[in-house]
């Protein structure tokens, strides 16, 4: 909704070219220190959860980058680090060319906002929609002086997230709204700060299927019209294919494949990406999919050696349990961390290898 009243300042005036790098993460790593419960006859032990290892991500203006993986793969940890809600163990984050550490927390939040999975938990049940939006507007000085200007800015926000006519929503409490409406309020609240980066962690997972597309389309408009740089975290690779420009697939804290969305989904090069595709519901499949890699994600306290996916991988080679695979270029901007794509091992497999399906 770029045609909203510019005097309210609620809509940022952006002349940012599409594709300009806004947020960049290099080598992001997070190790959580945990204490395990004391077992009978044993002492309390300490452990380290290797939640996220050496992740590189770039968010560009007017583009959506998806992070895809099953639960426990480290997606939330990555987005929380990008939001500076979690301190990285190592790695750097650069926002608009400057180190994230150089920003004060409020200045950083002004530019980088987050939308969470559960719109019910993230809104305060005793406060109205108006309150939820007015607060960040004031905090980030996004509205002109006076009550009238503030009210206008709140209405402009509601219009941007398609909660119109605004008077039907503005004085409602969260429980008086449907899940989709609540998520729109959560998005409006994030927009109130006037961010250039929006980090959306599973924003549609808890919503009814029939309204998911409405939310994704709204986010898509914000990307296109306001050139927001967006991170879209999801376990649903079909929605990432629909919505995201580029895709990063994570498994057990590591990036296993990344590239343009359609290249990744239509020509997957890592067996784990294949697994995610097989798991997704697909009514067009003639015969039921047989998932090759059963089981579940490994413990991240003692992650598997080599490629973390090797214990589940139907195509694993001896090298896979010994050495972490390097990032291998498999197409333009398309990278897979898999030994099967390495020149030395390419021809080792005899079975139909994952990802050999034509694009």
């Amino acid at each position: 909704m770029t045609d909203a009243n510019p005097e309210t300042q609620a809509v940022p005036v952006v002349n940012r070219p599409r594709g300009e790098v806004v947020l960049e993460a290099k080598g992001l790593t997070k190790h959580f220190k945990v204490r395990s419960k004391p077992q009978r006859g044993q002492r309390r032990t300490r452990g380290i959860v290797h939640a996220c290892e050496d992740v590189n991500l770039t968010l560009e203006a007017g583009r959506v980058t998806a992070v895809v993986g099953e639960s426990g793969s480290g997606k939330t940890t990555v987005s929380r680090m990008l939001a500076q809600l979690t301190k990285p163990t190592s790695g750097t984050i650069t926002l608009e060319g400057k180190p994230a550490k150089g920003y004060g927390l409020r200045a950083y939040r002004h530019k980088v906002q987050m939308v969470f999975q559960d719109p019910f938990a993230s809104l305060n049940p005793v406060h109205s929609v108006r309150y939820h939006l007015a607060r960040p507007l004031k905090l980030h000085k996004r509205a002109g002086a006076g009550k009238e200007a503030l009210a206008q800015a709140v209405e402009a926000l509601l219009t941007r997230v398609k909660l119109a006519p605004t008077n039907q929503y503005i004085d409602k409490l969260p429980h008086e709204l449907s899940g989709g409406q609540r998520q729109r309020v959560a998005i409006a609240r994030a927009l109130a700060a006037g961010p250039t980066v929006l980090l959306a962690d599973e924003p549609i997972s808890m919503l009814d299927v029939s309204i998911r597309l409405g939310i994704l389309n709204l986010l898509g408009e914000l990307r296109d019209n306001e050139k927001l740089a967006m991170l879209y975290v999801t376990h649903d690779i079909a929605s990432a294919r629909y919505f995201a420009d580029t895709m990063t697939v994570m498994y057990a804290g590591r990036v296993v494949e990344s590239g343009p969305s359609l290249d990744v989904t239509d020509n997957p090069q890592h067996p784990y990406t294949r697994l995610l595709l097989d798991a997704a519901p697909d009514p067009e499949r003639e015969t039921p999919a047989t998932m090759q890699a059963r089981g579940s994600a490994p413990s991240l306290i003692d992650p598997p050696s080599g490629c973390r996916f090797h214990p589940r991988c139907p195509l694993a080679l001896p090298i896979c349990s010994e050495q972490q695979p390097p990032d291998i270029s498999v197409g333009e901007g398309h990278v897979a961390a898999c030994w099967l794509r390495h020149d030395d091992y390419k021809n080792t497999t005899t079975t139909a290898t994952a990802g050999d399906s034509p694009a």
Binding site: S239, L275, P281, S296
Partner: protein, 365 residues
């Protein structure tokens, strides 16, 4: 799977079920004249937006409704044993003793929130043993422990997890334990209300495959309730679509996917992105369902329907065979089917039914 129509015996037959929450003018008409039949060994999927009344059908038909829910009309016939139709009982009329005997031992339920309803201070083993003991299964504690182990293995959890407590298990594992509990008494009907909604796609598929495998081995029937139609298309034999308290379409899964007959079904099918082909902008379903305290006079979907006729806002369409007839196993509640011409998305030719070893049906009509 159960494309074999010759001996399709109903095990659970819901006719004209009506459920209200509250009384008088303030009542929400959550389920209105619902007909739904579950045949022996069949997987029936029930799909629709949240609030459409899916859970209420499940609770109403098993008499598990809580205040202020009341069944105001309908019959729910349950035929416990194959080949003994004279043992059919009406669940809604059954005595408390009859009901206790049915629930869990014959009809088991797995609810979405069930995952969190495991007792946090009891081990998995203790909970399984309790269920078995309460229904007099197993001669001794030892036998029940063995059976508990078997049940866990059945749902793909290793026996060495028997001593685990719920908080030590992932969400997917807890949901599997719930399924093990539901299967403990070898039920004939398993009703699952959004059993995988809170889980990620990989876990979801593993659980669904497990359910299907168990169905093939143990032969129970499944009523699978979800808001996610895409899930049902691959696994259900028959799908029923619910909107604003009514069943608006039922059909074999393949037919429903390739040739939806209700505009709402067509819209639902356009609500989830594909894994193939060009990326096109999809719209979902704009608008929202009506307030069920004052259901509209005509079709409840009319104000969101692209094809609505004048008649649609005035008269309630009834569930009946569509103009393009198949094998008589599909029904739709939509006035468009009485018109001479159907709008394009509802006029797709009926896909052939792939029945292993059976002659193609429907052609003889």
């Amino acid at each position: 799977m159960s494309a074999d129509t010759t001996d399709r015996q109903p095990v659970l037959d819901i006719r004209g079920l009506c459920v209200d929450y509250g009384y008088g003018d303030a009542a929400t008409h959550a389920v209105i004249e619902a007909d739904l039949t579950l045949h022996r060994g069949e997987v029936v999927g029930l799909a629709g937006e949240s609030g459409s009344g899916k859970s209420t059908i499940a609770y109403g038909a098993t008499r598990l409704l809580r205040q202020p829910g009341v069944v105001t009309d309908g019959i729910v016939r349950f035929t416990p044993d194959a080949g003994k139709p004279d043992e059919t009982i009406d669940i809604l009329e059954a005595s408390p003793q009859q009901l206790r005997a049915i629930r869990w031992s014959d009809i088991a339920l797995v609810f979405q929130a069930a995952m969190n309803s495991l007792n946090p201070v009891m081990s998995v083993q203790a909970q399984l043993i309790d269920t078995l003991a309460a229904h007099g299964r197993g001669a001794s504690r030892r036998e029940r422990i063995d059976r508990a182990g078997e049940l866990l293995e059945l749902v793909g959890i290793s026996q060495d997890r028997l001593k685990s407590f719920p908080h030590e298990l992932s969400g997917g594992m807890k949901q599997r334990v719930m399924i093990a509990l539901a299967l403990a008494l070898e039920p004939q009907v398993v009703i699952m209300d959004e059993p995988t909604t809170a889980l990620d796609v990989v876990t979801q598929r593993q659980i669904m495959e497990q359910i299907m495998g168990l169905r093939d081995r143990l032969g129970f029937s499944v009523l699978f309730i979800t808001h996610d139609l895409s899930l049902l298309l691959e696994m259900a034999d028959t799908i029923a679509i619910m909107y604003a308290g009514r069943i608006v379409e039922t059909a074999p899964a393949r037919q429903l996917f390739h040739a939806p007959r209700h505009p709402y079904t067509a819209a639902l099918l356009d609500s989830f992105p594909s894994l193939h082909g060009e990326r096109t902008v999809m719209t979902g379903i704009p608008g929202s369902p009506p307030d069920m305290r004052k259901p509209p006079a005509g079709c409840a979907f009319a104000d969101r329907c692209k094809f609505a006729l004048d008649r649609c806002t005035a008269d309630q369409p009834v569930l009946s065979s569509p103009a393009i007839k198949a094998d008589g196993r599909r029904q739709v509640a939509c006035w468009l089917h009485e018109e001479n011409e159907l709008p394009e998305p509802l006029a797709a030719p009926e896909p052939a039914v792939q029945a292993a070893g059976a002659a193609p049906e429907g052609g003889s009509k």
